[in-house]
């Protein structure tokens, strides 16, 4: 299920965000060397109106950095971010502020994302105060409207404090706060991973409905692959700062192309034990993002890796329509890679 890309809201082009190791005044004076963390290292991605794109991967793969970079909380080192076709990579001042109104973020922890000293009303009103939108009466109206949108009756909840709310209700308030400025893009960074299973569903469903009703582009970041399958139209799998596979969520989850995605999907436990799950043990640890290996980033742990994989980093190939993968297994026939490097081959039993 792929949505037409004509309505692209946000697009990342070869986006890189590198962090310098922290240096203090003293170590700077002493000339200490700092390492560079390649948290985000060349990501291409686009999200259309009404579309929810999921980002999955292990912790440290750069998925949260991607979210933070898209909402301009981290400065990109290179590459571009296009919002409604306009380059917003280096906006500053008033223009950046108005972009911040259009691109909102929802964080993982519902317990610390709301200031405990403010009421629900004050919390949701705050973005309107920051952007000086509307009169007091209009603000009141908009706060009530978004609260009803997240299915919390305003009369009951307006004057409550976060400590009076459950985790799910807090996360709904956080969503309402994100919606009150009528944004075009919402980055949801693990929005349900700290909630109980029985209430996760409600929050996910809400995100899904809101995206369709309000024409929102949503970036859903999660390490819980199962939830991604429920609400995402497309999924991108990240490994060590890059997207290694991207496509329709059903395609990626059921016919993963990349050896890494295959292992990631195989690691998800299943309730139905009538068919024993094929576990595949993944060797080794993720390489350090301060010291990116040459060639394919997964080659060190990949059972199929060949000489080529250790030498040249693969491009995003598109072996199937709308399903891209960064793996030399899918190297197209017309390539300009030296033929003397041994290519990886599919295992026998495929």
């Amino acid at each position: 299920m792929s949505v037409e890309t004509g309505d692209t809201v946000i697009e990342a082009r070869d986006l890189k965000t590198h962090f310098k190791g922290h240096t203090g005044l003293i170590s700077a004076l002493l000339g200490g060397e700092s390492e560079t963390v390649h948290a985000l290292d060349g990501v291409d991605l686009h999200i259309a109106k009404k579309e929810i794109v999921g980002i999955v991967g292990e912790s440290g793969c750069g998925k949260s950095t991607l979210g933070m970079t898209l909402v301009r909380m981290h400065e990109p080192t290179s590459g571009n971010i296009l919002f409604n076709g306009q380059d917003i990579t280096h906006l500053s001042g008033g223009k950046l502020k108005s972009y911040r109104g259009a691109a909102q973020i929802i964080f993982q922890d519902p317990y610390s994302s709301l200031n405990p000293r403010l009421t629900v009303d004050q919390i949701i009103r705050e973005p309107l105060d920051i952007h000086r939108i509307g009169t007091s009466a209009e603000k009141t109206e908009r706060v009530a409207e978004v609260l009803s949108r997240v299915r919390m009756p305003p009369e009951t909840y307006l004057h409550r404090y976060p400590s009076d709310l459950s985790g799910g209700q807090r996360q709904r308030v956080a969503i309402a706060r994100a919606l009150v400025l009528r944004p075009k893009l919402i980055v949801a960074d693990e929005p349900v991973s700290m909630l109980d299973v029985s209430i996760q569903a409600g929050v996910l469903e809400l995100l899904n409905v809101l995206s369709k009703e309000l024409d929102l582009a949503v970036l859903y970041i999660s390490h819980d692959i199962a939830t991604v399958g429920y609400i995402c139209d497309r999924v991108a799998v990240m490994y060590l700062g890059r997207v290694v596979e991207e496509g329709g969520s059903d395609d990626v989850m059921h016919t993963p192309l990349h050896p890494y995605t295959e292992r990631l999907m195989a690691a998800v436990p299943s309730v139905d034990t009538s068919v024993p799950r094929q576990r595949v043990e993944l060797q080794g640890e993720v390489p350090s993002p301060t010291d990116i290996p040459a060639g394919c980033r997964f080659a060190g742990r990949c059972p199929l890796a060949a000489e080529l994989c250790h030498a040249v980093e693969p491009e995003l190939y598109e072996p199937l329509p709308n399903h891209r993968v960064r793996c030399h297994l899918y190297l197209p026939a017309d390539n300009d890679i030296p033929a003397d490097l041994a290519r990886p081959e599919f295992p026998e039993n495929r």
């Binding site: 292990e58 209700q169 569903a201 409600g202 690691a267 139905d272």
Partner: protein, 356 residues
């Protein structure tokens, strides 16, 4: 005279698995607002060499159960009932007897591995320390055992000389598991051992735990909110809600043919990877929240959230009673078939007011 490494391994491996019987376990916390009954009258048995899953959401009392099994609750908690380890009541033990049981008979792995390791000692020294506190062996023998444990959880032996902060989250969790297994305790209490971890790491650790349990024939109580992990790991499962067990039985039966509406709701809400081509079923949440345990409802504790509740449910608290191969605490066990069908529909669970 201290033991050789071989003697240590033989003596540890010949340890029998533990039978755990929990009888009428109740835990009451006294708070400034009055007593809160976090766990009320729980009964379950863990057969030697089996895995028992305790499933529930935050606040259901599952962690309190685990803490009371290890006697780790604060003094403000009143614990009633019996916790029998091979017939001996843990709750009645004096400090000396308790110290002898902890780690040698029951070992605990919690969610926050960070807190289980001391930052100022190397991981190896901490494992050695915990071994030598309980068996009379030389440092070298204990170190060899630690190396063996590290190999078992898939960590290189040289890492033993490192400090906890040099480990990643997943490695730390594996180190804690190695420590828990080092004395080959007959019963492992695993409280959300993999919840904070990535799927790949979670899978690796759970499969290691399963292997060891099986190979060495150990017993385990696995506490989690993840019914998929339980379904892959445990022979028996108990579903807890608001301090009670509401359904218990062989995992396969409980998950395939639930009798309690809460179990049905939990399954609906649990996201799973669909088979290819399968239509997207809606994720259904259970509206409402946990009852206030300061003033628990008179009848069934799930009644306020239950779509099938009746007058009787409001008035009378259901007992856990056997039905087929399982036990369920619901007044309407006989209508389970009908409930199961209705529970699959989203409308059944939809309540407009008061979302959680």
């Amino acid at each position: 005279m201290s033991m050789t490494f071989e003697a240590l391994c033989t003596s540890l491996e010949s340890k029998p698995p533990v039978r755990l019987q929990v009888q009428d376990l109740s835990v009451t916390y006294s708070t400034s607002k009055g007593p809160v009954r976090a766990v009320s009258q729980i009964n379950f048995d863990v057969e030697p060499g089996t895995n028992f899953g305790l499933v529930g959401e935050s606040g259901c009392g599952k962690s309190t159960v685990v803490k009371s099994l290890m006697r780790l609750l604060p003094d403000s908690a009143k614990v009633g009932g019996k916790v029998l380890l091979d017939g001996k009541d843990v709750l009645a033990m004096d400090r000396k007897a308790l110290a002898a049981v902890r780690w040698t008979q029951i070992a605990l792995v919690t969610q926050s591995a960070m807190n289980s390791l001391d930052p100022v000692f190397t991981v190896g020294d901490q494992i050695v320390e915990s071994i030598r506190a309980h068996v009379d062996v030389s440092h070298a023998v204990a170190w060899a055992r630690a190396e063996q444990m590290f190999a078992m959880v898939g960590l290189p032996a040289e890492r033993l000389r490192e400090y906890p902060h040099q480990f990643s989250g997943g490695m730390r969790q594996r180190a804690v598991i190695a420590m828990a297994f080092s004395l080959n305790a007959g019963l492992l209490l695993a409280d959300e051992p993999t919840t904070a971890l990535d799927p790949i790491m979670q899978d690796q650790i759970m499969s290691r735990i399963r292997d060891i349990q099986q190979r060495l024939h150990r017993s385990m109580v696995l506490v989690t909110h993840d019914i998929a992990v339980v379904s892959e790991t445990c022979e028996t499962v108990a579903i807890m809600y608001a301090g009670r067990i509401v359904e218990m039985g062989p995992t396969r039966d409980v998950l395939n043919k639930a009798y309690h509406p809460y179990t049905m709701g939990l399954q609906n809400a649990f996201p799973r990877i669909r088979a290819k081509g399968e239509s997207k079923p809606p994720l259904i949440s259970i509206s409402g929240g946990l009852p206030d345990l300061l003033h628990p409802p008179k009848g069934c504790r799930f009644e306020p959230r239950c779509p099938f509740s009746t007058e009787r449910c409001r008035a009378e608290d259901p007992e856990l009673r056997p039905v087929g191969t399982v036990m369920a605490a619901c007044h309407h066990i006989d209508r389970a078939e009908e409930f199961r069908r209705a529970a699959l529909k989203a409308e059944t669970w939809r309540v407009e007011e008061d979302v959680q």
